[in-house]
Symmetry: C2
Subunit: 316 residues, 2 copies
């Protein structure tokens, strides 16, 4: 291809290393490193590095994957909004992570940054970026949601004040379980098909999102990791993780793209939680902390704008 994407690859590999260093230091367990390369002759070509931990000190299961693939035809999940590129050869690279802590008071976190290049024959390549991060608590704390959103807002600020509210709303719309009428968590930021600032500046904005993840998440992990919990909290966490599975397998474009295009299944499905439960038509008792997740956190709110008092009130 005529555009040079080596800078993007270099950045992504460095991002993965930096995140893994920070998470390993926090967790206390080393992440496994699993480098892979697609066999010659497979439909999808490319390579990747999966880094993951299971039964860690903090993380019950978590992974941060780099992948860089080339394919002969863009699958439908990638061209929903760009029908003129349907079926074109493509190149895609990204870093994607999901962290499932053991302690139900520590929220699950997801972050992804990615670059797509469609290479329609005889035409200029079309390059765009996508990504974001979002937070999924089991027991909500306003302080955590406010912190997470403010880090997102501040990371995007150098690229214009309009981006955070726009990407925040996009995140609320994207991470929404339509079949339950329920948000996945307290959101964060999400963007896709993004090239409007030109390649260099769109790439810089994408870097700002990736680079902000550790600051957005680790302080929350530190604050909650030692919170005492019992079977009740673990049970609710396992039940709520079912929603995470439902979202990722039914609605998530990235997951469907990966599975449809012949991506590496075990790396893609690192997003699945370690232990999950389903139970028929279960609802929390009114007035419980579990009910408070639904009433106070699983609805779109302007977290970054919350008054300091709101943020201080939490922690109960």
């Amino acid at each position: 291809m005529s555009i040079d994407t080596q800078d993007v690859r270099r950045y992504l590999l460095g991002l993965q290393d930096g995140i893994i260093d920070a998470l390993q230091a926090e967790d206390g367990h080393a992440f496994v490193r699993d480098a892979w390369r697609k066999a010659p002759g497979e439909r999808l070509q490319g390579d990747g590095i999966s880094r993951l931990v299971e039964e860690g000190g903090v993380l019950e299961r978590g992974g941060c994957n780099f992948s860089h693939v080339q394919g002969p035809t863009l699958p439908p999940s990638a061209t929903q909004h760009r029908p003129e590129l349907a079926g074109a050869p493509f190149e895609a690279m990204g870093v994607s992570l999901v962290m499932h802590p053991r302690n139900p008071y520590v929220p699950t976190a997801h972050m992804n940054v990615r670059m797509f290049a469609a290479l329609p024959p005889g035409r200029e390549p079309v390059v765009w970026f996508g990504g974001g991060m979002d937070l999924t608590p089991y027991y909500g704390f306003e302080e955590d949601a406010v912190h997470f959103h403010r880090v997102c807002r501040d990371a995007l600020a150098p690229f214009g004040d309009a981006l955070y509210p726009r990407f925040k709303r996009w995140c609320d719309e994207y991470f929404f379980l339509k079949h339950r009428g329920e948000p996945r968590g307290v959101g964060g930021v999400f963007f896709d098909d993004f090239a409007e600032l030109g390649f260099e500046r769109s790439f810089a904005m994408t870097r700002a999102v990736g680079d902000a993840f550790v600051d957005a998440y680790l302080p929350i992990v530190r604050r909650r990791r030692a919170a005492p919990y019992g079977e009740r909290e673990r049970d609710f966490q396992a039940y709520r993780r079912g929603r995470y599975v439902e979202f990722n397998l039914v609605w998530d474009r990235g997951t469907l793209f990966g599975l449809q295009s012949g991506g590496r299944t075990e790396s893609i499905l690192m997003s699945m939680p370690p232990v999950v439960k389903w139970r028929y038509d279960w609802k929390p008792e009114p007035g419980t902390p579990e009910a408070r997740l639904y009433s106070d956190f699983l609805r779109p709110r302007d977290w970054a704008e919350a008054a300091a008092g709101d943020a201080a009130r939490d922690g109960a």
Copy 2:
């Protein structure tokens, strides 16, 4: 609509009752009965009866649902093979069940029979049937797979010898996890878009499949329900149940149709197992019973034709 579908409804309600009676007698716990009706003004109209048990004597979670819905536009998952009907108003009714036993030596079973009517404005209604049943063991027994397939074969025999091999192959192709290159289980029979025998005889064939379920599954439950097991078997069962979740949420047309069309989520997701585990790139040790599931059972075989000797050899 001009065709009378009341006979189909009556049959399906009776089928559900008969299956629940048989399963309750085997399980020893009463199934909950949850009748529902879509609220006026919702996009999808209709009613249904969910019957289910959780923490039963044999079944850790299991449900058998009747539903009968009318919608303004067929969703894409229903018209993949009938593009000329895309977006037409429709009526759909069916009985669908999934049983997740607690004992890992008892296989999970699924059965579904359904009728679809597309009602394109100003044209004749187009009616078709679909359904089938399939078996998903955690620890395989040839005797069980042979029995299940022979009951399916015998049920279809009155409608021509060609149907069983055709529906058996269709089942192998349908219940296949493309992202893992792996069958869901030992198969059974599957058919869809079926109207080639005319309404009456296609309906009779569909009834034959539904009516065969209890004979196909209960003898297997009886044979295995008291088998001793420990944490190792429960753990493998929970891991393999992850495949069931992946298939149903990523590939199953019925599930996607239900979730896309605004069906009743809690009834549709009765197919989800009660406790599921994911683990990175896990493979059984060669030579173990767990490895034998992959090598001997998760590959298409002519179970109904297996020699008696093969069937007797199992049970180890």
